[in-house]
Subunit: 422 residues, 2 copies
């Protein structure tokens, strides 16, 4: 039996979940994994605060240095969230030769390229399974079970809040603001929901996951990001009529030395497995050159699901200690971050209801090299709605076509533009 | 760069796929994993046979001993299928200290308890990711990413042929025999489809997967098995009306020291993620006490998907060599294999269309402790169809109720009994 002394940084939702799982399954972890894990320190802001888990007050400290410099601490697990001081603490732990397990997507997305060399230098391990898609085991699976594949692309529902909102909008026909307020009331959305609904949370995770899949750092500034605030109940209705659902997808593709990475609301066929992912569940659909299509589905957040990933990393770290850290080797060579990707598009606009209008607008698409797959026209009062689905086109051609349309006097307004994947 | 000499046993679909992946991705495997894998020998029945992959004739042999006793061979990968001689060869390889990677579900389901001690004795590794659900990385994921969980239950679509047949029956309204013949014509079903349609293939895989999940050997004789041959187009229609789809599920649950393991056609709600698994795809839906619900979806068969799992195992085996084999420790203590499980049931019967019949039949359910959730009655000519969905009941109570009904003169026939999961 190997004894391990663990230092926890943070005792919020995830930290408490980790304590619960370590206790509840301690006997199993001893028996099956040969590890006796002792939580020696827990860093908190306020030692007097009431906690949802029972904890020996003598392990609580407000002094990070007491933990980071304790020679008896083998391993640090960090769940403070946010960039600082988490980044500084993680770097210090690695420099002190202590392996680190973290759920911190912001630190990993922004600083992995600095932390990985520190880990290599000291021989400590750096593990962050829980930073992407919570309980879904995706990072280790890609590194240790899909090594025989070039990962060609993936599409993920990796933000539970937006999937919850879009599911309710879709199943109830409600509009965005109504469902958002309800989601806040029920605790599915934060009081300040910006990071979720504007796609920033998904952007961090996409940066990490695409780096792991493609073995090329995909920095945040190369990830395109659009949130769900402009998706309307009307778009969802038309989507369904056309055989699609709308999901906030994090999409990444690699083709030769070109990588594209983008987060945006997306039309996805009703028969696609991602479309069946409801409520706050997460899922990652990926394609490897040998394995073909795979999908991983589960809880992307929550105390115990996230703790499942954290404790798995803790166990792996303890078993690897003394052995070598499983480095994620990056591929050599320059990559180009593609902004002019190929996609299909859904476009909904209000136009004057008179003969020849459709032809004029179709002409503006055609002039820019965008061809049309289907058109629906519905008339209401003076205005008519036109709904287009295009064939595959270049993003820049599509943007140029939309620009031309904004100067076209038969078009009252372009209401929605949503990318379409299959 | 570590050089590895590999001996392949078998060059059918899977063997050829493995060769293709090893070649196609050789540069990546060298670069990322530090392994230079050389196929030194391939065991075939007929050296002159035309192959779908190019192969140097000098590595082909019809003599298994030449491979198993070659001191330069580090690792054996077996894809012969069937129990013998595969089992004998695998055992001999392990005894000779050579690690073994296999896709052979029959050998693992029947002989793992004999092979694991051989592996431990010699220090060789035994890997069989490809034996369950083809390309879906499930075995290593449970062992290495879900170690913090007690796995409480899982439900899997782990036979592609039957899922293909049920999908087409469901989407086209066709009957079993028609779709089976078409599936055989298209190569989705074997000329002798028994192992698939009677559930035997799924039974092997369920035995392996439940052993991994529960850390208790689940021998084949304790796996209940019923195939899909009696599922009718009519049942599928009623299922849909009631909000369900029908899938051949491999179900296993552990509760304290009681384990149940069963393969049978199952009603599953249309909103359940397993219901969206179409065609020949596989999926495993599981529940852990920390992680909650997870689902893994992908290709359960085919040359390249299966090769993805095999080559991943080969890479893992090469990297573990010199280190220790990651043994799957079994839990101590007796377990009881539960036959009297709890389930809901769908029952369809033809009855005399006269007053009081429903009351009489409901009484026979009630007398045996089975209560009813819903009833649909449809009348056609002299006979009426009654369709029941029960609440949760014990299997034995349900069987007793059905026995009582067989002696009841108002019931012309019990047409279908299908278990219901949620």
């Amino acid at each position: 039996m190997k004894k391990v002394k663990l230092g926890l940084l943070g005792l919020g939702t995830v930290g408490s979940g980790v304590l619960k799982v370590l206790r509840q399954n301690a006997a199993m972890i001893k028996r099956r994994e040969g590890l006796d894990i002792d939580v020696g320190w827990v860093l908190v802001r306020d030692k007097a605060k009431k906690r949802s888990v029972e904890i020996d007050p003598s392990v609580l400290t407000t002094d990070a240095q007491a933990i980071l410099n304790d020679p008896e601490v083998d391993l640090i697990a960090e769940f403070m969230g946010g960039e600082e001081p988490a980044f500084t603490y993680i770097r210090q732990a690695l420099r002190n030769g202590k392996s680190v397990v973290t759920a911190n997507k912001e630190v990993i997305a922004k600083h992995w390229h600095e932390l990985e060399p520190e880990a290599e230098k000291s021989g400590a391990g750096l593990y962050f399974e829980a930073s992407v898609a919570g309980g879904i085991p995706i990072i280790k699976t890609i590194k240790r079970s899909l090594q025989a594949n070039h990962i060609l692309k993936f599409m993920g529902i990796i933000n539970g809040t937006t999937n919850y909102i879009l599911t309710r909008m879709s199943e109830e026909g409600s509009d965005f603001q109504t469902v958002l307020k309800d989601a806040q009331r029920l605790g599915y959305a934060e009081p300040d929901p910006t990071a979720d609904i504007e796609g920033l949370d998904a952007k961090f995770k996409l940066s990490i996951l695409s780096t792991i899949c493609f073995r090329n750092m995909v920095p945040l500034e190369h990830v395109f990001c659009e949130g769900i605030t402009r998706v309307t109940a009307e778009d969802i209705t038309y989507a369904r009529q056309l055989g699609y659902g709308i999901k906030l997808l994090a999409i990444a593709k690699k083709n030769g030395n070109r990588i594209e990475a983008r987060v945006h609301p997306t039309f996805i066929p009703l028969t696609h497995p991602l479309c069946a992912v409801r409520d706050s569940y997460n899922a990652i659909f990926l394609e490897g050159d040998a394995v073909g299509s795979l999908m991983f589905y589960g809880r992307g957040a929550g105390d115990l699901p996230t703790a499942s990933a954290v404790v798995s990393d803790i166990i792996t770290a303890c078993q690897n200690e003394g052995g070598h850290h499983h480095r994620t080797g990056m591929d050599e060579g320059e990559v180009i971050f593609e902004r002019n990707w190929i996609s299909r598009y859904y476009v909904r606009m209000l136009v004057c209801d008179r003969p020849g209008v459709l032809g004029e607008i179709a002409g503006l698409f055609g002039k820019n090299g965008v061809s049309l797959e289907s058109v629906i026209q519905t008339t209401r009062g003076d205005d008519a709605s036109l709904i287009f689905i295009t064939h595959e086109a270049q993003e820049q051609s599509m943007m140029k076509a939309l620009e031309d349309m904004r100067g076209c006097d038969v078009i009252s307004s372009i209401e929605s533009v949503i990318r379409v994947e299959r």
